[in-house]
């Protein structure tokens, strides 16, 4: 519906810089930077410095010289492979499931007429629940003497309580963790998506309807592409968070399901080796940024293809 006014940067305004009044380019060019400045200063002051310190920690040996020793130790560690695998596995399973669930729920919500606010409210409640509390809640369900077994027993489906959360039932354990994570963190995506959906003018859905799109086609061909910016953000944020899962997994899985962030915490707190912990941190960061980059490339939104 609108044309973006390209200002500075790569915009066509610079195509003929000789004739373009330099003053204007200069006067406009700083605007985005001015808008970013507060947050950049904030982050540099608060985070860049400790971050650099932490990264340095990971590449410095006990003597202070540059070394890969800490990464070596990380990689050689008993739990490393499992932690890496579990983290990636969880991310790969949970995030897409969450995205799907959140999209489904968001569509459900927008399709409702009455009661949508109430429904939306209820669905966002897990937002307010810390991961530790969520871990407790799901432990109460899946533990051997928990609610699930109680229910199954009362229903007469089983005679002995089943064990869901042990190292010899990794599948159910993983399943439980996935469920808990879905429960806990889908709301974040949901709210981002609902907020995004509210901004899509209804006329596009109507046009799709008229041109014979089934609800599913309308969703995939219209809603989803128009929701791209929000979807991209939801995915990035959730993925980064998923790579740092820890509390819920440790509550349900204990040592059976090591994850990268958990290992980082252990090395840091329990084993008191901040260097190896920092190495884990760097690894997590690297994976996060890699995936973020992938999302940005895969879910590209062309500037001209927006409202």
């Amino acid at each position: 519906m609108s044309r973006r006014t390209p200002v500075g940067g790569k915009g066509p305004a610079l195509l003929s810089p000789v004739t373009t009044p330099a003053a204007r380019v200069r006067s406009q060019r700083w605007v985005p930077y001015a808008l970013l400045a507060p947050s950049v200063i904030f982050l540099l002051l608060l985070f860049a410095w400790p971050l650099i310190e932490a990264v340095l920690l990971s590449v410095r040996g006990t003597t202070g010289s540059l070394t890969t020793e800490n990464f070596q130790r990380m990689a050689d560690d008993l739990n490393f492979r499992d932690a890496l695998r579990n983290t990636l596995l969880l991310t790969v399973i949970v995030v897409p499931l969450q995205a799907a669930l959140a999209l489904g729920l968001a569509s459900l919500v927008s399709g409702m007429e009455r009661g949508r606010n109430t429904l939306l409210y209820v669905l966002t409640i897990p937002l307010g629940i810390s991961d530790i509390a969520a871990g407790i809640a799901w432990l109460a369900i899946f533990t051997e003497r928990g609610y699930l077994n109680s229910m199954l027993m009362s229903a007469g489906a089983i005679e002995q309580p089943l064990t869901f959360l042990s190292y010899d039932s990794l599948t159910t354990l993983l399943l439980a963790v996935i469920l808990a994570e879905l429960w806990r963190a889908t709301a974040i995506m949901l709210v981002i998506l609902v907020a995004g959906m509210q901004l899509i003018p209804r006329m596009y859905a109507e046009a799709a309807d008229v041109f014979g799109a089934t609800p599913w086609q309308r969703f995939t061909k219209i809603t989803l592409p128009l929701l791209k910016p929000s979807l991209q953000n939801a995915l990035i944020l959730r993925t980064i968070a998923a790579l740092e899962v820890f509390a819920v997994v440790s509550a349900l899985g204990g040592r059976n399901l090591p994850v990268l962030a958990g290992e980082a915490y252990n090395w840091y707190g329990t084993y008191q080796n901040a260097s190896v912990a920092a190495a884990y941190g760097v690894l997590i960061m690297a994976i996060s940024l890699l995936l973020t980059f992938a999302y940005l490339k895969l879910i590209r939104v062309k500037p001209e293809a927006t409202v």
């Binding site: 008993l78 533990t143 051997e144 349900l252 204990g254 040592r255 059976n256 707190g269 008191q272 080796n273």
Partner: protein
Amino acid sequence: QNNSVLFASTQFRQLEEAQSMRDVILKDAPVKVEFLGQENAPFVSRLIAENKSGKPSVSLAGGLHGDFTALQAAAALDNVDDVLKDLNNVKFIPSMVSLGKLGTNNQKYIPWAQATYLMAAHKDALQYLPKGADLNDLTYEQLAEWGKNIEQATGRKRLGFPAGPNGLIHRYVQGYLLPSYTGSYVQKFKSPQAAEAWKDMQDIWKYTNPQSASYNFMQEPLLSGEVLVAWDHAARLKDAFTQRPNDFVAFPAPKGPAGRGYMPVIAGLGIPEGAPNRAGAVVTIKHLTKPETQAQTLRETGFFPVTRGNLPTNLPQGIKIMAEAVEKQSGEGSIAALLPVGLGAQDGEFSKVYVDAFQRMIIRNQNIQSSLNTQARQLQRVLDTSKAACWAPDPVAKDTCKVQ
């Protein structure tokens, strides 16, 4: 606020305990004390950070031996030789006082309270005790057989160990399993006797509730019935005994071929370097080490005094049950395995060696000898890095301790 003492502690941080600490134990202290329970990691981070910044706010630090080694490694602790001198009328257990030197020439912390690890069983489980077994004189084989009997009778594995992420399973290995078979837990780490110990542990594990790998505290699985027989820190079993004193029995850890290994735990009180209210901290230490306060601490929390003297008589039944078992455990023929000494910042990784050994051989069922060899290398690296000399029950010497 200026003349109050900020007291950060990794012990008694659990809500109820912290509450009794504030409302009962510290109530009569001569200065105003602000007690803050803290988890180990934040506790250590904070004190180190305060130290680095040069503006500490904590005047008194309470923690386990291991917490202090980490602080000492960062040079964040003040010497407390003067305080100890002031306390010359208090009859501390000497071995504990020397532990408080952290391998240096100066006193780094003052003993505060002690605890140990125990076995607990639901009374229902007693019927399945192997024939001829004495609850107070159990062997590791008998423990395995007991578990087997229970499984055969109830269809479930109901032994339990705190092998979760916050569980203390490494203390079990260090202080109980290995010393009982080898009389050592460092030097003979990969000895054949140690291999034997692990083999027996594998047996025991067959009858252990697999959820053990996520248990941090054993009192809850005991109370819920998921587990009938368990080993854990006294304070982490306490609830079972205090809530249902009639259902549970406490008893000493099993014996092995080399005897009954056990590990006393010491909590201490240290003063961060540059503490804003050192005088107040000293007064508080004096208050906490008074015999009356020590007795009060036992009553409220299940931590035992670090001073010599008779136990108070008016103990709650649950505490009494444990106290009796503790006494039996440290009795004749027992091998006291001390907490690591002189490891400094390597303390955490030292424990990891044992946790990982447990992981490999018990949880993942890997080959015992090769696992021991791998872990022994790690162990040696830790020892080398810290240059720590051997400590009890290994023969105490001056050189860096070596795995044989």
